[in-house]
Structure formats: structure tokens, C-alpha cells
């Protein structure tokens, strides 16, 4: 019997987002029509969000293995070894659609969600980073509103929970006007033995839900299943906006980590999309067991919830764990200490079935495999687009403007100006590990031992990690394969500037509707570029997230793969800085730099469409340049190091001057385009001349002016003011 024969089932599964074909597969697999609770569970588990049905096959192309990988993709977060028996777990995730509806809560709960993924694997969160995309702020009050509220939401959650927000990136392009991107990355640390799996184990063990009460949050789409007729008043009871409660999550985090420290849990899992259904079924699937859950045992925020609502509620700040029966009292004791509500809601069985009970009576029964593994995975039909993905826009700077005018316009532009008005809303120092915070270096640097614990032992190296997050939709649009690869190189370049060597990558693939052939092509090309660049640099991908269907009536967003990278440096005391510091230091260019204007910030300000491609890069040269910079920083040969990124070489030099509050005299190599870009390949370093041996010297640090010989001089204070005001001018209550 197929879906077409089931007149009332048919409408429902379609409204729940399942195709007729998928519904047929379900009916075949079950040997019967699913009931309401079952249909609700299946429709969510077979959604794009949970099943990755349009991306899973492509993701298999990513390199996921390496000597430092402790946990690869598949768990809540991947993890790499950083020595001293320590693991670093990290992951980036999108919260785009909720943030477009309610930016403060959407962004806040995005941070809350990614933090739960980190402590679910047993790691204490030690850093948050964010990657944000909005429409053009100058033209769009809505983009300014989204920016302001999303930033406030991220700060609210991260600051209140006591995890430092140490880095991020923000870009503005018209394609994000209706579909902003809010990606959040979290990084955590754990001793190896505390890394925890979510696989449910031990038939007869109990399943315990702890944390916030379960309400009707996020039920939205599935409310077609509600048995009662919907009245307006009922509708108001089905909130789709989830409210973040960082205070609840702080207690949940401390409680979870204490439970793991005391070795009381067999497994641990966070509740995210699709709530209890997804967490419990994935735990069961990974453990190869069955589960039984009684919804009457779930503590509710609203008394009259139906079983399907309880099973798919997306209420925040909840965790699920599996506990041996004799340890339950001790687990409840720890929960009580942290004032975290906990309830035994079910048990692990050997049936391979996910059974849902209401007061002991069966209301749903599904094979775990059907829920978790049997959703069909689709092949895409990639086809290159017939028209350019990025076509340029309004002109803001004359193409024949003099170099100083152009430099000033770039420094003050929304994409390049200082992010200070944003990052001042984030606490970057809580937990006492932050050796480099925003605008001090190209990547954040976090000491592994807490710094203030260091008593006296000043001569020992302090192992540290560096973290960076990057993306560039416009350049990926010019060439998805080369653009995605370039993002990886740029991220690694940021790490090199602090002296760090990359250990692992996480990624968030933000794209449009993959059922459109040209979007499928963008996705496929970008994944190939990403995979290739990771292989080139020997950095495995340990996790990530995919966000598809980022579209508005005007079409898809620019293809926006966002890369988060974690690296290690042997000694935090030698961590690099980006600002020039010592008058008399020479300035050198490191790397093979072949700047071009297609897809660059200057092309954007000129309003020009790309005519060609991104610069062709030599992988060997990139590796050599990164290594030269990394070693120079580690050996303290360089006073400063900064990669040449958006805006080109003059912008990079101006940023070094602004960060250090000191000028420079520069002789630009003949024929070098001062505003062309070639991301991830080249660096500006400064240091005493004997330390820069073998490098092409292009200038000297000193005075209060930036002098570009033969072209212009300008006071650093003037550049600094322009750079500093660019974004605050666009934010309403900026001081």
C-alpha cells in the first residue's frame, strides 16, 4: 500500500515535508501506516537537517583522518590531540533560519546549542567564535537591526555562561539581506579519558533527561498533527521562537562535567533539532540497542502536551544520559547540587526498537534503523550556472581615484573596518586563558594551562592553541572550488601568524537549495576545493554542519562555506601579534603573492563584476610561506606577522600600523597591485633586519605616518579613525 492510497495520511506527510516516495519507503519498512507520534518522529529524522539527505554523499569526499584525530565526524563534536593528555573538541554550526525570525534569541540559542555539543563530548567549553553575514548595512535598516540583535544575543549567551568569545568574522553582501547567516563555533578542552561517546550502552540501563522543562518550543511545522481543532488561542501555545536561558545552561554544563568527572554516566548526548527523538534514537543507533521512553515521565512546562509534542519539542538547555541503575541516586544527587531538574524517562532495551509509551501504554514503535539510517540519500544533479553568481553592485569609489582615497574608502568600508563595536560586546578573557584577543593577532590564542595558575614557573613553555574562523562568499561565488580552498588557506595563514600549526578543521556549509542544479554544483565544487586544500595542508576535517535552502525570493545566498581551524603552538609566550611595534624594524613580504581584483573588496567598491578567476596558487609556495612565518614567529624573529587578506597589501600594512599605533615607510614592489587580493598566500612581517634575512624587504617601521614612496603619506591616526568608525557609524547606539 503506497502513500497515494492513503488519502488522509498523504496530506499530512507532505505538510510534514516528506515526499510520497519517502512515505512509501516508511510504509514498506514498517509494514503498515505510521501513527501520529511515529509520523512526527520520522518526518523530523528524515528532514534535511537531521538526515543530511542532500549532502551526506558529498561529505564523504572530505579527508577525515590524521595522526592527531581523536574523534572524527559523527559525534557531537570532533576532537584532536594537543599533547599532555589533552584533547580539543570543536565544531561550528548554523542557526540561520531562527535568527532571521528573531535575531537575538536565534543567535543566543545558536551559541547555546553549539556549547552543548562540546560538553556532550565531555569537553569544557573554553571559547566561542562567530561567523555572521548580513545584507548591506548602509542601505538596509533591517540588516542593521539583525546585526545589532544577533551580536547582542551571542554576547548575552556567551558572556552569561562564562565562555569567552574570542574571535569571529562579519561580512555584508546584498545576497544575505533576506537570509542572514549566523554560524557559531565552540571549542572545548578535556583530558583524553573524559571524552565521552553518545552511544547508548548496556541493556537495562536507565535513560535520564536533565535540564530545562520541556515546552512546546519549536514544534511549529509539526502542529498539523495536533489532534484538537486549532483555535487561535491554541496557535499561540505553539511557540516556534525558542528562548535561550544561559543561566540554565551554565548549571547544565557544570552538572554534566561533574557527572563525567565522577564517572557516573555510560553515555551523554545533547538535545538539539528534533529534541528527544533525535537524541535518543541516535544514542540507540550508535549503541546498536533499543530504547523505551515514557512521555509521562518527562517534566513539562505545560501540562497538556501531547506525546508527539513531547517527543519532538526543541526546548533548549536539556541533556540526555544513560546511567547504570545502581548509579541513578548519585546522578540525581549531582543534579540536585546544581539545581538541575532530572528524571528517569526510560531504559535501554535489546529490541532494536524505539518504543514510546504514555503511562505504560504504547503510542509509537519504530525500528531505530528506520529512524536513523533508512532515510534515502539523494544524488545531486550538479550543473554549472549559466549566469555569473556574483555580478557586482553599486559603485562607491571611482575606478580612477588616487591610491590614498581608495585606501581610506577600503579601511572605512563595512567589510574591512574595525569590528571593535561588535567584539567589545563579548567577554574575551573569562577563564584566564586568552593570550591574544581580537585585533591583537590574526587568530585567538588560548593557553592550555590556565594562566593565573602559573606561580613562579616563568621559564617553562606554555602550550597553547590558536583558533580562527573564516569564509568569503563573494570569492567562492567567483569560483566555488578555488574560493573554498582559499578559505582554508586563509584560516591556516591566520594561525601561522600566531605561530600555530593547524591540527584540524570544522566547517559549516551555507548554501541555497541543493535541488537546483547550479546550487548543487556550487556545493559539490566547494566541497572538492575544501577537501583538496585540507589535503594540501595535511589538516583533517573532524566535524561540521550543513545549512541548505538559504534562499529568498531573489534567489540563493552566495555560496558560503565557513571554516573553523584549530592549531597548536608550543609556547604562548611567543604568540605572534599583528601590529608593528618597534621603530627601525624592517618590513618584509613573505610568500608568492599574485594579487588580482576579481571578487576583491576593491572590485566591490568599484561595483565591478568579476571578469576572470581567482589567482592560481602554488600549494608548495603556500606551505613554504606558512612555515616560514610560523617558524619566524615561534623563534621570536618577527616582531609582528599579518596575512594579506581582504583589501590587499596596502590595507594589510595599514592594519599593522593601526594595531601598533606606529607608522611605516613602504616601497611597493614595481607592478604590484596595491589593492588586488590573493588570500592565504602572503604575509607582512616586521622585525630586526638580521631576522628577516632572505626575505624581500619592502619598508621600515617608524614615525606617525604611513608613507608609500612615490604615492602618498597619511597620518596613522587618520587611518585609525576611519577604520574605527566604519562599523560603529552603522550601529544605532554605538558610542
Amino acid at each position: 500500500m503506497g502513500a497515494t492510497d492513503a488519502p488522509d495520511g498523504r496530506g499530512r506527510h507532505r505538510e510534514l515535508g516528506l515526499t510520497d516516495h519517502e512515505y512509501d519507503l516508511i510504509v514498506d519498512g514498517l509494514g503498515r501506516e505510521p501513527g501520529d507520534v511515529e509520523l512526527a518522529m520520522l518526518s523530523l529524522m528524515w528532514s534535511e537537517h537531521c538526515a543530511y539527505k542532500h549532502s551526506k554523499k558529498l561529505l564523504r569526499r572530505l579527508p577525515v583522518e590524521g595522526p592527531n584525530v581523536l574523534v572524527g565526524p559523527g559525534e557531537n563534536a570532533g576532537a584532536v590531540d594537543v599533547g599532555d593528555n589533552l584533547a580539543i573538541a570543536f565544531k561550528v554550526e548554523s542557526h540561520n533560519h531562527p535568527s532571521a525570525v528573531e535575531p537575538f534569541q536565534g543567535a543566543a540559542t545558536g551559541v547555546g546549542g553549539i556549547l552543548r555539543d562540546i560538553f556532550a563530548v565531555g569537553a569544557r567549553p573554553i571559547a566561542v567564535l562567530d561567523s555572521l553575514r548580513f545584507g548591506e548595512p548602509a542601505d538596509s535598516p533591517r540588516s542593521r537591526y539583525l546585526l545589532e540583535h544577533a551580536v547582542a544575543g551571542i554576547g548575552h549567551y556567551g558572556n552569561s555562561i562564562g565562555v569567552p568569545t574570542v574571535g569571529g568574522e562579519i561580512y555584508f553582501e546584498p545576497s544575505y539581506e533576506q537570509n542572514c547567516l549566523i554560524n557559531a563555533m565552540a571549542v572545548g578542552m578535556a583530558p583524553h579519558e573524559r571524552l565521552t561517546s553518545s552511544a547508548a550502552a548496556g541493556v537495562g540501563n536507565l535513560v535520564l533527561l536533565f535540564g530545562a522543562l520541556t515546552g512546546r518550543d519549536g514544534i511549529g511545522g509539526a502542529s498539523v498533527l495536533a489532534s484538537a481543532e486549532l483555535t487561535d488561542a491554541d496557535d499561540a501555545k505553539r511557540p516556534t521562537v525558542q528562548i535561550g536561558d544561559p543561566f540554565a545552561e551554565k548549571k547544565l554544563m557544570e552538572c554534566s562535567l561533574e557527572l563525567l568527572d565522577r564517572n557516573l554516566l555510560a553515555s551523554l548526548q545533547d538535545l538539539g533539532a528534533a529534541g528527544l527523538t533525535s537524541s535518543a534514537s541516535e544514542m540507540a543507533s550508535k549503541g546498536g540497542v533499543g530504547l523505551e521512553i515514557d512521555v509521562t515521565k518527562v517534566p513539562l512546562r505545560e501540562a497538556d502536551m501531547e506525546p508527539f509534542e513531547i517527543m519532538i519539542s526543541e526546548s533548549q538547555e536539556r541533556m540526555l544520559c544513560v546511567v547504570e541503575p545502581h548509579l541513578v541516586d548519585r546522578v540525581l544527587g549531582v543534579c540536585e547540587k546544581w539545581e538541575v531538574l532530572a528524571a528517569v524517562i526510560g531504559e535501554v532495551t535489546d529490541t532494536g526498537l524505539f518504543r514510546v509509551l504514555r503511562d505504560g501504554e504504547l503510542v509509537g514503535e519504530l525500528p531505530v534503523g528506520l529512524l536513523v539510517d533508512d532515510c534515502p540519500l539523494y544524488d545531486l544533479d550538479p550543473e554549472p550556472p549559466t549566469a555569473a553568481l556574483y555580478v557586482g553592485g553599486e559603485q562607491h569609489v571611482a575606478t580612477d581615484a588616487d591610491p590614498l582615497t581608495t585606501l581610506k574608502a577600503l579601511l572605512a568600508s563595512a567589510n574591512i573596518s574595525s569590528r571593535r563595536p561588535v567584539f567589545e560586546q563579548y567577554d574575551p578573557v573569562v577563564q584566564s586563558r586568552t593570550v591574544r584577543r581580537p585585533e591583537q593577532a590574526d587568530a585567538a590564542v588560548l593557553a592550555l594551562p590556565v594562566l593565573c595558575a602559573r606561580s613562579g614557573a616563568l621559564d617553562e613553555p606554555i602550550p597553547a592553541i590558536a583558533v580562527s574562523i573564516d569564509g568569503n562568499g563573494r570569492r567562492v561565488a567567483v569560483d566555488p572550488r578555488a574560493g573554498a580552498a582559499e578559505v582554508v588557506y586563509e584560516c591556516a595563514a591566520n594561525l601561522a601568524c600566531t605561530g600555530a600549526e593547524p591540527l584540524g578543521v570544522t566547517n559549516c556549509l551555507n548554501f541555497g537549495n541543493p535541488e537546483k542544479p547550479h546550487v548543487a554544483w556550487q556545493l559539490s565544487e566547494a566541497i572538492d576545493g575544501l577537501a583538496q586544500a585540507c589535503r594540501d595542508l595535511g589538516v583533517p576535517v573532524v566535524g561540521g554542519n550543513v545549512s541548505l535552502y538559504n534562499e529568498s525570493p531573489d534567489g540563493p545566498i552566495l555560496p558560503t562555506p565557513v571554516i573553523g581551524m584549530v592549531g597548536k603552538l608550543p609556547d604562548a609566550r611567543a604568540a605572534g601579534r599583528l601590529g608593528f611595534a618597534n621603530p627601525g624594524d624592517r618590513i618584509a613580504l613573505v610568500g608568492e603573492f599574485h594579487p588580482a581584483r576579481d571578487g576583491s573588496e576593491i572590485a566591490k567598491l568599484h561595483g565591478s563584476a568579476p571578469a576572470g578567476a581567482l589567482p592560481v596558487k602554488s600549494v608548495a609556495a603556500i606551505r613554504a610561506a606558512h612555515e616560514r612565518v610560523r617558524e619566524g614567529v615561534r623563534n621570536r624573529d618577527f616582531t609582528s606577522a599579518h596575512d594579506i587578506a581582504e583589501g590587499g597589501i596596502l590595507v594589510a600594512i595599514a592594519e599593522c600600523c593601526i594595531a601598533g599605533g606606529v607608522g611605516a615607510i613602504i616601497n611597493l614592489p614595481d607592478g604590484l597591485d596595491p589593492f588586488g587580493e590573493d588570500l592565504g598566500t602572503a604575509f607582512i612581517v616586521s622585525g630586526p633586519s638580521e631576522s628577516l634575512e632572505g626575505l624581500p624587504i619592502i619598508g621600515v617601521v617608524g614615525s606617525r605616518e604611513l608613507v608609500v614612496t612615490g604615492r602618498f603619506n597619511v597620518a596613522v591616526s587618520e587611518l585609525s579613525a576611519l577604520h574605527g568608525q566604519g562599523l560603529s557609524a552603522l550601529l544605532s547606539y554605538a558610542r
Partner: protein, 89 residues
């Protein structure tokens, strides 16, 4: 004319502040308190009362997650009234 807008989280929307207050009260010896919700109060002087609902929808409240009530017609300014009703100086 003087108006007040009372804004609170919609029914069904998580209200962490209300929960925190509800849990704190018994510890202070106040019992028998339930269903606590914390919201916002906006007091304003308006010339055109009929604008108030639109103001609420567009700025004062967030209709996605909050509901509001408009009170008009209380004549006393706050300071005066409050002294009757029990503010401590």
C-alpha cells in the same frame, strides 16, 4: 495623555526570569506564590492615543514572543501615586 504599556512573555514562551523569581521567593519566606512572569513596563506621554497599538507592534513589544496591554486614563503622575502605594524613599 499618560499611558502605560505592560509587556510580558506570551503564554507558552519560556520565561527564565519569572522562573528565577518564583524559585527565589520561598527562600525569603514568601510562600503561596506561583505563575510568576517578568516583563517590561513602558510609561509614556502621548498626544495621540490611537498610535499606541502600532507603537507596541513595531517597537515597544516583540509580537513574536511578547503580548502587551495598554493602560490609559490613570491621571496621577507616578511619583505622586507611588508614595501612596508604598515606595520607600
Amino acid at each position: 495623555m499618560r499611558a502605560r504599556v505592560l509587556i510580558r512573555p506570551k503564554a507558552g514562551i519560556l520565561d527564565p526570569q519569572g522562573q528565577a523569581v518564583e524559585r527565589a521567593l520561598p527562600a525569603l519566606g514568601f510562600t503561596g506564590v506561583s505563575e510568576v512572569h517578568v516583563g517590561r513596563l513602558v510609561e509614556l506621554e502621548v498626544q495621540d492615543e490611537s498610535q499606541l497599538p502600532a507603537m507596541c507592534e513595531r517597537l515597544l513589544a516583540n509580537p513574536l514572543i511578547e503580548e502587551y496591554e495598554i493602560q490609559t486614563g490613570h491621571t496621577a503622575a507616578w511619583g505622586e501615586r507611588a508614595s501612596e502605594e508604598g515606595t520607600a524613599a
